[in-house]
C-alpha cells in the first residue's frame, strides 16, 4: 500500500470522525487490478477501503450536485476533478463550504484498455504502480514497464495542471512526464466535416458521454425533451450531429477536460476532442479557462465591455 493511500485513509477517517462530514467519496478497489470503483464511505472504520493508484480514473465530481446540496461531503480528488468542482461552485450547483476536498498531486491515470499489449493480456495483470521510469505493470508472467505515452489517458498526456487548485488537505506530489504533448487538437481542416460525420455515424445514442460528465447536470437534458423535440432518439448521423453540437455549445467554457466522455464512449468517438476545441475557442476569444479558482462566475455569466461581439467586431 502506498504512502499516499495511507494518508488518504487517515484524512478521510479524521474527517468522518470530526462529525461534520457525513460521507467521503473516493475510489475503492475495483473488480480487477486495473479497475477502481467509486466508494461512499460513511463510517470512519471503512476508510481503509479507499485506494490511490494509476487506475483512479473516475471524475467523482459527477456525484456532487446530488449529494452535496444539503450536507457536507468529503471527496478525494485529482486536480482535474477539482477543476470540475470549481465550475460547479461558480455555477452555484454546490457550495464550497459543503465540500471537504482531499486534493492529490497527480501523475496521470491510465486507460485499462490501452494496457492490453503484445507482451501481456489484461487477465494476467495483478497490479499497477508508478515508478520513475513509467508505469510498472505486474503480471503473472513477470513485470513490465510502459512509458507514460503508451499508457496515460489522452487528457493526461496534455495536462499541465497537476496540482490541486483548491483543497482542504493536499497529499502527494504532481509528476510532470517528460513526454508531455502540446495539444491534442487536430489542425482545423476542410475534411473536418467528413471526419465528424463519420465519427457521428458510429454513435449509438446511449448518452453515456453525457451521464459521466460532471458539467452535464441538467435535471432534464434537452436531448430527452419530448416537447419541443430538439433531437430525435434514433441513431442516425444527422441526429447525432444535433445532439453533439448542442451538447458542445452547452459545455463551452465549462468543460474542464477530464476526458470522462471519451473514456466511456463504447464506439470510440473522440467526444472530448470537440470539447477541447470549444475550450480553446473560448480561451482565444474571451481569455477564459474553465475551472480557474480566480474567476468568480462562468464565462457566460460575465459581461465585459471589451468582450468579443460579432455584431461590433465582425464575426
Amino acid at each position: 500500500m502506498s504512502d499516499i493511500e495511507n494518508k488518504i485513509q487517515e484524512e478521510a477517517k479524521k474527517a468522518l470522525e470530526g462529525g461534520d462530514v457525513s460521507v467521503v467519496i473516493g475510489w475503492g478497489a475495483g473488480s480487477a487490478p486495473f479497475k477502481t470503483t467509486p466508494v461512499f464511505i460513511e463510517k470512519p472504520e471503512d476508510a481503509d477501503k479507499l485506494v490511490w493508484n494509476p487506475a483512479c480514473v473516475n471524475n467523482l465530481a459527477v456525484y456532487l450536485p446530488k449529494l452535496a446540496n444539503d450536507k457536507k461531503v468529503g471527496i478525494v480528488a485529482k486536480p482535474c476533478d477539482i477543476r470540475s468542482m470549481i465550475g460547479l461552485i461558480q455555477e452555484k450547483q454546490i457550495k464550497r463550504e459543503n465540500l471537504y476536498i482531499i486534493g492529490l498531486g497527480c501523475a496521470g491515470v491510465v486507460d485499462a484498455f490501452n494496457l492490453d499489449s503484445q507482451d501481456f493480456h489484461l487477465q494476467d495483470v495483478i497490479g499497477l504502480d508508478w515508478t520513475s521510469d513509467g508505469l510498472k505493470v505486474s503480471t503473472t508472467n513477470g513485470d513490465y514497464t510502459l512509458s507514460c505515452s503508451d499508457c496515460l489517458r489522452d487528457m493526461c498526456l496534455v495536462c499541465t495542471k497537476r496540482e490541486p487548485a483548491i483543497f482542504d488537505v493536499k497529499l502527494g506530489e504532481a509528476v510532470q512526464p517528460s513526454d508531455i504533448r502540446e495539444s491534442l487538437i487536430p489542425e482545423l481542416a476542410e475534411e473536418r466535416k467528413a471526419y465528424w460525420s463519420e465519427q457521428f455515424s458510429k454513435c449509438i445514442r446511449c448518452y453515456a458521454c453525457r451521464q459521466v460528465c460532471p458539467a452535464c447536470y441538467c435535471k432534464t437534458c434537452f436531448a430527452d425533451r419530448v416537447e419541443p423535440k430538439w433531437t430525435a432518439k434514433k441513431a442516425t448521423a444527422e441526429e447525432a450531429w444535433m445532439f453533439h453540437a448542442t451538447r458542445m455549445m452547452h459545455i463551452a467554457g465549462r468543460c474542464i477536460g477530464c476526458g470522462e466522455c471519451e473514456r466511456i464512449c463504447p464506439v470510440g468517438i473522440p467526444v472530448a476532442e470537440l470539447a477541447r476545441e470549444m475550450a480553446q475557442a473560448v480561451k482565444d476569444t474571451y481569455g477564459y479557462e474553465a475551472g480557474d479558482p480566480n474567476q468568480e462566475s462562468p464565462v457566460l455569466g460575465q459581461y465585459k465591455e471589451e468582450d468579443f461581439d460579432p455584431a461590433h467586431h465582425g464575426g
Partner: protein, 348 residues
C-alpha cells in the same frame, strides 16, 4: 454432425460463395471503432478470426434504429406504408458462442407465438448462425457460471473453433451442414480434435463462480442492501444494456415532417429515468435503486421464470464497459452467496 477444417486464408473464398445465395452478416472493421455486425458489401473487411466483437450481434437483428411504418396524408386520405423488411436467406458469421446464446434469449422475446415481432422475425427466421470459439480467454467472461454452456451448441447451426491458422468446423443443424459443403472444407484429423477440445475446455471448464446453478435465480431478492450500494454509484449511462447482446428493450417514437409521420423504434434501457415514466407524470421507478435492481432481477429472475433461460450469457461486456465498475459478477456473488441471503434486509 460433420467435423471439418477450413484454413483461415480460405474464409474469404467461402464468404464470396455464400454471398451468391445469401446475405452475409459479420463483424465489419470500422475506422477507430469496434467492428460492427452488418451485411458484407464488396470491399468490406469482415473479422472472422475468433476474436470477440465488442458490438453485439443484435445490432443486425434488432437494429439501433428501425422504421416500423410511415403514414402520409394525400388526396385519398391517409396512406400507411409498412416497413417490414424483406430478407434473403442470411448467414451470420463470426459471433462468439455466448452471443449466439444471447440470440436465443432475443428469440424468446420476439418470436413468441402470441406476440411475434414481424420485423425481428423477417431477419431472424431465415438466418443460419455460425459461431466462433476464440482461442484465448478474456478476463471478463463468466459464461459457464450462468448456464450449462454445452447446451448452447444447439443454438447455432455451425460452430467454428479457432485453432490458430485454421478453424475446426462442426456442422450442427441441417441448414448448417449445407453451407459447409464446399471444397475448401477438408477432413479433420485426430490432432485437430485434440486442439478443438482444448479450445472448448478453456471456455467451458474454467472455474465456476459461487453463484453458479440454482443460487443464481433462487437467492436474488427484492429487498437487499446491495441495490442501494450499486445504485449509489451507477451513473445511469445505460451502457450495460445498450451493449448487452441479450437486452431487448426498445422505445417507439413518432416523427412528423409536414404531412408524413414515421414511427420508429430505437434502443432503450431500464437504467434510464424516463423508461417507466407514465404519460401523466407518475414514475413507478422514481430513483436509481429500483432501476439497478430491475436490470439484475429481469435478467436472472423474471426471464428465468418466463422463459426458463437467464437473460445473461456472461459475455462480460457490461463488466468491461461500466464506467463505475459495477461488476455484475460481484453483485451476483454477493446476492447469491448463502451468508448474504441470510443477512437481515433493510427496507427501502
Amino acid at each position: 454432425m460433420s467435423e471439418k477444417i477450413i484454413s483461415k486464408d480460405k474464409i474469404k473464398e467461402w464468404i464470396d460463395v455464400l454471398m451468391q445465395s445469401h446475405t452475409v452478416v459479420a463483424p465489419i472493421e470500422r475506422k477507430d471503432a469496434p467492428a460492427e455486425f452488418r451485411e458484407i458489401k464488396p470491399g468490406d473487411e469482415p473479422i472472422i478470426d475468433g476474436s470477440k466483437s465488442m458490438m453485439p450481434p443484435k445490432d443486425w437483428l434488432l437494429p439501433r434504429y428501425e422504421t416500423l411504418f410511415k403514414v402520409s396524408k394525400g388526396a385519398e386520405g391517409a396512406q400507411v406504408e409498412p416497413a417490414v423488411p424483406e430478407c434473403k436467406p442470411t448467414v451470420m458469421l463470426g459471433m462468439w458462442l455466448p452471443d449466439a446464446a444471447a440470440i436465443r434469449v432475443l428469440d424468446r422475446v420476439f418470436l413468441d407465438d402470441k406476440f411475434k415481432d414481424p420485423y425481428y422475425a423477417a431477419r431472424r427466421e431465415n438466418t443460419v448462425l455460425v459461431a466462433v470459439m476464440p482461442a484465448e480467454k478474456r478476463w471478463s467472461w463468466f459464461c459457464n457460471s450462468v448456464d450449462d454452456v454445452e447446451t448452447w451448441k444447439d443454438s447455432v447451426d455451425v460452430l467454428m473453433y479457432d485453432l490458430g491458422d485454421k478453424f475446426y468446423v462442426e456442422g450442427i443443424s441441417a441448414k448448417g451442414e449445407e453451407i459447409i459443403a464446399g471444397a475448401y472444407f477438408t477432413e479433420s484429423n485426430e490432432a485437430d480434435t485434440i486442439a478443438r477440445n482444448q479450445v472448448w475446455d478453456l471456455f467451458a471448464k474454467c472455474d465456476k463462480l459461487p453463484f453458479a446453478g440454482k443460487a443464481l435465480y433462487d437467492n436474488l431478492a427484492w429487498e437487499d442492501p446491495i441495490w442501494a450500494e450499486i445504485s449509489q454509484k451507477c451513473l445511469a449511462c445505460g451502457m450495460c444494456s445498450y451493449m448487452c447482446p441479450s437486452c431487448s428493450c426498445f422505445d417507439i417514437q413518432d416523427e412528423t415532417n409536414g404531412l408524413c409521420t414515421e414511427r420508429y423504434r430505437c434502443r432503450d434501457t431500464c437504467q434510464f429515468e424516463d423508461f417507466t415514466l407514465m404519460g401523466a407524470g407518475h414514475n413507478p421507478r422514481n430513483n436509481q435503486l429500483p432501476r439497478s435492481r430491475q436490470r439484475l432481477l429481469h435478467k436472472f429472475k423474471y426471464q428465468h421464470e418466463q422463459f426458463g433461460v437467464v437473460g445473461c450469457t456472461g459475455c462480460g461486456r457490461c463488466v468491461e464497459l461500466c464506467p463505475v465498475n459495477v461488476d455484475i459478477r460481484d453483485v451476483l456473488t454477493r446476492t447469491c452467496s448463502k451468508e448474504r441471503a441470510e443477512e437481515p434486509v433493510k427496507a427501502d
